[in-house]
Symmetry: C2
Subunit: 447 residues, 2 copies
């Protein structure tokens, strides 16, 4: 029994480790095109924030541990170029230039995602960087160390862009953020995104939304980001528009592609070929709230899906119920969290969403140190079912969102949620938890 | 239609306000024996911690607002002494010494709880205090202000005792905590309670458990707490053994009494007399996990039950599903939280509990500032159903517990919970949330 895994990041190494733990005699081979496996990709902005920290601190487990301690046949520097699903082989080339071809019984495609790069002149110039792999992190860190980087433009305003804005400001680097779209954070209710915008501006991050970018040019030691009627002159450019699933290998092999070009998988993580699984940022997932397929590339899902693949390859049939789209990030002093559907996603999914925006306090009446928590909560007008929640605040946001995530997994109505027995003590919230206060208001808008 | 409420604290004033909002022409009378209504009782330790803060800051809404703005016939200084459930009248005496007798159509008993005082000589001496009402808080604060209080003994080691230990230490007062019981926090798994104990000791709180107390004596300006083979000499004594429900008025009237001497109520908050409701610390509740009656006096439940009574009195039939026993407190730098059943409660309720204790980190691998989170989680061996969770840590505990609380409300199995899509970002936790890591281990112990 030979199990081949393409890609040695979160999903791939989780699957390899768990398969080998369950069936030690199984031949488990991992083909990873880079030299890095098992690192905390999400930790990169925080590592980049600190010039003194070694980026290799982010490596959770070294390659030799997987090989020697776990008995995984881990081949780094091995790029897979094709899969023959009839012959059940994978072929490619390694970093020494040698080609390879291996047969498999079961396979996992865990090729992850790649940064989206805008198709503009100058995008490949030195000093224009993206951040996805550990090697990207190395390049950014060494570029900052080796150049006089006083000002950086970030193209895009997603989670990574926002986290990198904070990271760069903490190194006293000026930051401009720019994107063509006219709305700052379009997935977020405006009352809440305004708070995030203000936090960025208070930390001297300049925001240019609704600004097209036509080309990048060098200008002495600097780079010019040129759009209609505006030029930003900076020392480095970070492209953080978002990522796309690395699904070409799968589609070239004839496997079915699902939403947003991600590899289509069932609840057992199987692709359209029953011997080939896909997991992590390259694969789609079922959304528990919408009941539809979604592509939301996040680390927890990648790890969990890797484990589920290992179980299924080892003959222990496991189905994952799906995701609810929970995410959190920190931007300067703010915690920003979401779970479930946005208003427009809810409408697209056939719901009739009613929503409220509530501002409450992070601590009890008269308790010192309290700050504002802003919450946007949605429920279906017809059924009362909770659909999603977004929160922003200086404290008490990041973990509080999980109560709603669990409620969404259970298809709770806002009325049932409003009766939840949540924790209370003055340093941690008002008697009525902010989520309950919001639910109590939202009830009035549903039948 | 006349609605009389006995007791003007959380449950009583919540009921009065909501009834009057729903039916403005309803005659709503509140009879409160003290002069205080609507204050944050849970905030008292934090107020006492700060000599400069006025204890009246804890008053959320003043009596005249209820009277003038809300039209509630609020009578403070009115002590009810008897209820005639046949004649439907309440009788008592006011602070001017005048007796009163009022007829009602519907009534709410919201008489709260009283501190349990040990039956030992000297318990009534000046300087021996308890903390339940705002007036108790006033007395403690003025006693500390008026005396040279350098050392306090706290009898009992419940939430209030622990919060008061921190409050007094923050005023540089030495604290001894003493109780006869041999186990420090008997409801808590030892691996976790050891962390709390250590935190207290590191903050110079001396703990004497398994120490009986025979009597209290004055000794000059000080008090002596005398037990077998040991005497603590202190400047003030705080009794914080716990509270008991104020149910005598109800039992004297012939109403049914339930668990732990609390007034027995149904899911509509009705007592054994359909015109009399009970809510707050004087009444019992259904426990969603055990399926049995429980008495867990906490502020959120009191407020919520008050609202439910108002709805029912106003003709909008409302049933509360019950409590899951969620509580959180802060003790120095620790957050301590629990929800659901303890191991012994689970056994008593007919479950076959399997448990794990896990230590995880509060932030991601390699993220600075991380600390330990310790979790004890229980599930039923036969069904896999989650039964309860306890957590201790310096951060990420207080709000995280709510995810389990919501899971308990939904009767989730530990396996289903382990698939929950919880939030992840490096500053707020590891990729696998501490609760998920614990659930993943606990799965192995069920079925």
């Amino acid at each position: 029994m030979k199990f081949i895994i393409i890609g040695g990041d979160a999903a791939g190494m989780s699957a390899a480790s768990k398969a080998k733990r369950q069936i030690p005699e199984m031949e488990v081979m991992v083909l990873e095109q880079s030299d890095d496996v098992s690192y905390s990709a999400c930790g990169m902005p925080y590592n980049i924030a600190d010039a003194d920290r070694d980026i290799n601190d982010l490596i959770v487990r070294k390659a030799h541990v997987f090989r020697e301690k776990q008995g995984i046949d881990l081949k780094t520097g091995h790029r897979v170029e094709s899969i023959d699903i009839t012959e059940k082989t994978v072929s490619g080339i390694n970093s020494a230039g040698d080609t390879f071809r291996f047969p498999y019984d079961d396979m996992l495609i865990a090729t992850g995602g790649s940064p989206i790069l805008p198709d503009i002149p100058g995008i490949a110039l030195p000093g224009v960087m993206a951040l996805k792999s550990l090697n990207d992190g190395r390049k950014i860190k060494s570029y900052i160390a080796g150049h006089r980087v006083q000002r950086v433009a970030i193209i895009g305003m997603g989670y990574i862009g926002l986290e990198m804005a904070e990271a760069l400001r903490s190194r006293s680097i000026d930051v401009d953020m720019i994107k063509p779209g006219p709305v700052f954070l379009p997935w977020m209710k405006k009352e809440l995104s305004d708070i995030v915008r203000k936090e960025l501006e208070e930390n001297q991050v300049k925001l240019f939304y609704g600004h097209s970018i036509h080309r990048i040019e060098t200008s002495g030691n600097q780079l010019k980001l040129i759009g209609p009627g505006q030029t930003l002159t900076v020392d480095m450019i970070l492209v953080a528009i978002g990522i796309k699933p690395n699904s070409k290998l799968a589609s070239d092999s004839g496997l079915e592609i699902g939403v947003k070009d991600a590899i289509a998988i069932d609840k057992e993580m199987r692709t359209s070929d029953k011997h080939i699984f896909a997991a992590g940022d390259c694969a789609d997932a079922f959304h528990v709230v919408s009941g539809k397929k979604a592509w939301i590339p996040l680390a927890l899902r990648a790890n969990r899906a890797g484990w589920a693949v290992a179980d299924n390859v080892c003959g222990k049939s496991v189905e994952l119920p799906g995701i609810v789209g929970t995410a959190v990030f920190k931007v300067f002093d703010l915690e920003v969290a979401r779970t479930g559907l946005t208003e427009s996603e809810a409408i697209e999914s056939g719901f009739d969403p009613a929503g409220v925006v509530i501002q409450t306090r992070s601590r009890a009446h008269a308790h010192p140190g309290s700050s504002t928590i802003s919450i946007h909560m949605l429920a279906d007008r017809k059924t009362g079912r909770l659909l999603g929640t977004q929160m922003v605040g200086k404290e008490g946001v990041a973990h509080r969102i999980n109560a709603i995530a669990v409620a969404l997994h259970n298809h709770m109505t806002v009325e049932a949620f409003s009766q939840a027995d949540l924790a209370y003590a003055p340093p941690f919230g008002p008697t009525w938890d902010p989520l309950l206060t919001t639910a109590n208001q939202l009830i009035k808008k549903v039948n």
